[in-house]
């Protein structure tokens, strides 16, 4: 969009997020009031405003925009981070396309996302349960939320020990039910589920809280009307609760996918070598290792750019699907 003087003025006076028409009306109104943008008073205000936003804008340019540009450039070079940076065209991208380890790490990263629908379903159930007027609900809410605020490093250390094959909490509890648990983190079959279980446990309280807030904001009259029409509890859930909490579900899916695609801490702490046969290594873990252990900065950056693009594309697809689906509901 070309920035003509009138559009810049409209932008300046528009409250961000406001529709264009309202901005336009406001502009008209301000003109009626002989609110001249060139007046010295406005000039001072603009200067102050610019000074007030200077820090985040500068921070964005220095620590986001510049590194992003540099990352794209560096992904086309052979580079150890210190010395010579040699332009090698698409070689890094060809390499990652053929790199079994990178494929495995990407596969693992997306495999962990199985935990997202499981966690969302469980937390919705929890929120429904906590929405009932039962004694001790605030205590329950606090307990379910404690893992969310706990340091991920400490939690990963704790769970690594809890998954110990012989003396860990998990297998000791399983033994009570007569189940002989595996040595979780040393097993190619069970290492990934172990990490998923831990991640679901840690994230449950957060989604529960958002769902609870959404459920509580549903107008009671909707349920009453449905009850009068003879709708069963399950029908009310399907026809009222589920659509009403949809925005929260969407928000949680988008943020969980973005966060899940960057899973690193639990992997590095619980399985410092990437797990048995590389079965737990995540994309970020592999990128980090290539960059900071093996000084393959150029190659690692190329993988990081691919990961960033994947996240962007998946997020855009989700937004598009969301828009289309909400049309059907309306």
């Amino acid at each position: 969009m070309p920035l003509t003087p009138s559009t810049t003025h409209a932008q300046a006076s528009a409250v961000a997020g406001e529709s264009a028409t309202r901005a336009h009306r406001r502009e008209k109104k301000s003109r009626l009031h002989k609110d001249d943008p060139r007046s010295p008073l406005h000039r001072t205000e603009r200067r102050w405003a610019l000074a007030f936003v200077a820090a985040p804008v500068l921070g964005f340019l220095l620590f986001t925009a510049y590194p992003l540009g540099y990352a794209i450039y560096a992904s086309f070079t052979r580079w150890n981070g210190l010395g010579l940076q040699v332009f090698i065209g698409f070689d890094n991208y060809v390499q990652l396309f053929n790199d079994q380890y990178f494929h495995k790490a990407l596969f693992n990263t997306f495999f962990y996302m199985i935990g997202i629908p499981i966690g969302l379903a469980l937390s919705l159930l929890l929120a429904l349960a906590l929405n009932r007027k039962i004694p001790g609900r605030t205590v329950f809410r606090t307990i379910y939320y404690i893992p969310v605020i706990s340091s991920l490093a400490a939690i990963a250390i704790l769970w690594q020990w809890a998954y110990n094959g012989d003396f860990g909490l998990v297998n000791q509890v399983l033994a009570l039910f007569g189940i002989d648990g595996p040595n979780w983190l040393a097993s190619t079959t069970w290492a990934k589920p172990a990490i998923i279980i831990m991640a679901v446990w840690k994230g449950l309280g957060y989604s529960m809280l958002l769902y609870l807030a959404a459920i509580q904001s549903v107008p009671r009259s909707l349920y009453e009307a449905a009850s009068l029409d003879g709708a069963s509890a399950f029908q009310r859930f399907r026809a009222i609760t589920l659509p009403m909490v949809r925005p929260v579900t969407f928000f949680l899916v988008v943020t969980n996918v973005i966060g899940g695609a960057q899973i690193f801490t639990e992997i590095n702490i619980m399985t410092p070598t990437g797990g048995p046969e590389f079965s737990t290594a995540s994309a970020v873990w592999y990128i980090w290792r290539q960059a900071f252990r093996y000084q393959q900065m150029g190659y690692a950056t190329a993988m990081a750019v691919v990961l960033g693009l994947l996240i962007l594309v998946i997020t855009l697809i989700q937004f598009r699907l969301n828009r289309r689906n909400s049309f059907i509901i309306d």
């Binding site: 810049t8 300046a12 936003v53 985040p56 906590l130 809410r141 307990i143 605020i149 340091s151």
Partner: protein, 286 residues
Amino acid sequence: MKRRTPMNRNVSRTIADIAVWIALAIGAVVMIAPLLWMVSTSLKTKLEVFALPPVWIPAEPQWNTYVRMWEDSLVLSGFRNSLIVSLSVTVIGTLTCSLAAFALAKMRLPARNFIFFGLLAGIMIPFPTLMIPQFVMFSTIGWVDTLLPLIVPAIFGNIVMIFFLRQYLESVPNSLIEAAKIDGASYWQIFWRMIMPIIRPAVAAQFILWFMAVWNDYLAPILYLNTPSKQTLQVVIANMNVQYATQRDYPLIMAASFVALLPILAVFLIFQKQIIESVALTGTKG
């Protein structure tokens, strides 16, 4: 279908409530058990750690482990470093965020929407994509192995916080600010005397959430901090986990991990109401 009498309905509702309560209680045990086990392990002797059947309550709690932890390990310096980083980031960062939110919500600013949505687009770019160039940037100016790379980028502001403060400011009537202007207040005075008190609840909640995030951060600190005495607490406990596991000193590891999450746990339990409210808000407004 049989019609239920009100009496019947009340009974079935009570039964359902009891069933739900039991399910919630079992779930709560699952949620809290690992953490209790962490505390219990930290108080065991090394022998009790490997006892079968497991010991839940140590015969003689080994409080000494906690003394040993402060003396023999780097927990103390880790604590100090984490505090320095978290406090300087959140205190200075909160000021920059509040100023920016004020300007973006209430002031005449050229290209305001462009600036705001540009900043917002920045959070679409994941940290792993930026971390290598950032690392090289900071290493060329000699900041590797200092706390500066963890502090400096963050004090330029955090767009999530700006977003929520700006949202909060939308509800403040413009006439209030206009009146202050007519009274001859400078923009700094308007911000400090008027805006800050208004947005204080939102600032407090965002401050706590940000503090928690910085305190718990792990990836950026392990990139930059090599010297053990310069590491933040999360890195210290992760290294202890490797070092002491070979000596089978699980009580010490668990003690350090517990201490690492204790400050945040305390903050959470004290400010529970505010934290829960502002988190619930992120879902509905985000």
